[in-house]
């Protein structure tokens, strides 16, 4: 099985949600701004619970925000 990684479109969804800031998203999800930043940069993969909370904030299904894809 080839190597896989979790990619996300959090930054894109923030932009299309009235240019929501990282801090606003962090407050809605209940994590720190630094954690949102680490998720966006792909340095940290959130727990399922936080991933669902982020998707819920944007009103999207989970797989439109997070994807499990082969490494580039």
């Amino acid at each position: 099985m080839s190597d896989m990684s979790i990619k996300n479109r959090v930054r894109e969804h923030r932009f299309f949600s009235d240019e929501m800031t990282q801090q606003q998203l962090a407050d809605l999800v209940g994590v720190t701004r630094q954690t949102i930043m680490a998720i966006e940069k792909g340095k940290y993969s959130p727990s399922l619970e936080v991933a669902f909370k982020i998707a819920r904030v944007f009103g999207k299904p989970l797989d439109q925000v997070f994807e499990y894809v082969p490494l580039d």
Binding site: V31, T32, R33, Q34, A38, K41, K43, P46
Partner: protein, 153 residues
């Protein structure tokens, strides 16, 4: 820089500086007569513990006062994972130190002449091997937290 990362920096810097001072002072105490050494070490240890308690309390209070929201929020899942990972690093160092300390005790038990021949002349050496292990493991834990925060996770 997050609240928890700043907290780790405070603990790292204060531990390195204050216990660095302790160990430098400790080596100098070796020149004292044997009867005075124990009392001097006890005084130095009490002074160091009081100093680090005050420094940590003051700086962490200042940090919490200037970052009230973050202080009230506490640790999120990434903070907890970083703390767990850093604890593992520190624990590994502590185990190595304790095993080294036990090894030292066993060797000295069977070869008492090693104590006087040793070039490692530190007062109350057995206790200090354990104390060194504890302090180094704490430094590794705080440094581990800082590195993990810098890397993202």
């Amino acid at each position: 820089m997050s609240f928890k990362e700043k907290s780790a920096w405070i603990s790292l810097v204060s531990t390195v500086l204050i216990f660095g001072y302790y160990f430098i002072q400790l080596v100098d105490l070796n020149n004292l007569p044997e009867n005075d050494v124990r009392q001097a070490v006890a005084y130095l240890a009490i002074k160091t513990v009081v100093l680090i308690s005050i420094v940590e309390a003051v700086f962490h209070s200042m940090l919490a006062a200037t970052n009230r929201k973050a202080a009230e929020m506490g640790a999120d899942e990434r903070d907890k994972l970083i703390a767990l990972k850093a604890n593992n690093y520190g624990y590994s160092v502590l185990v190595i130190g304790v095993v080294f300390g036990l090894g030292h005790m066993v060797i000295v038990e069977f070869n008492p002449q090693f104590t006087s021949e040793s070039s490692l002349q530190i007062p109350m050496l057995k206790s200090h091997i354990l104390l060194f292990s504890l302090i180094i493991s704490e430094i590794v834990r705080f440094a581990g937290q800082v590195v993990l925060y810098r890397r993202g996770y």
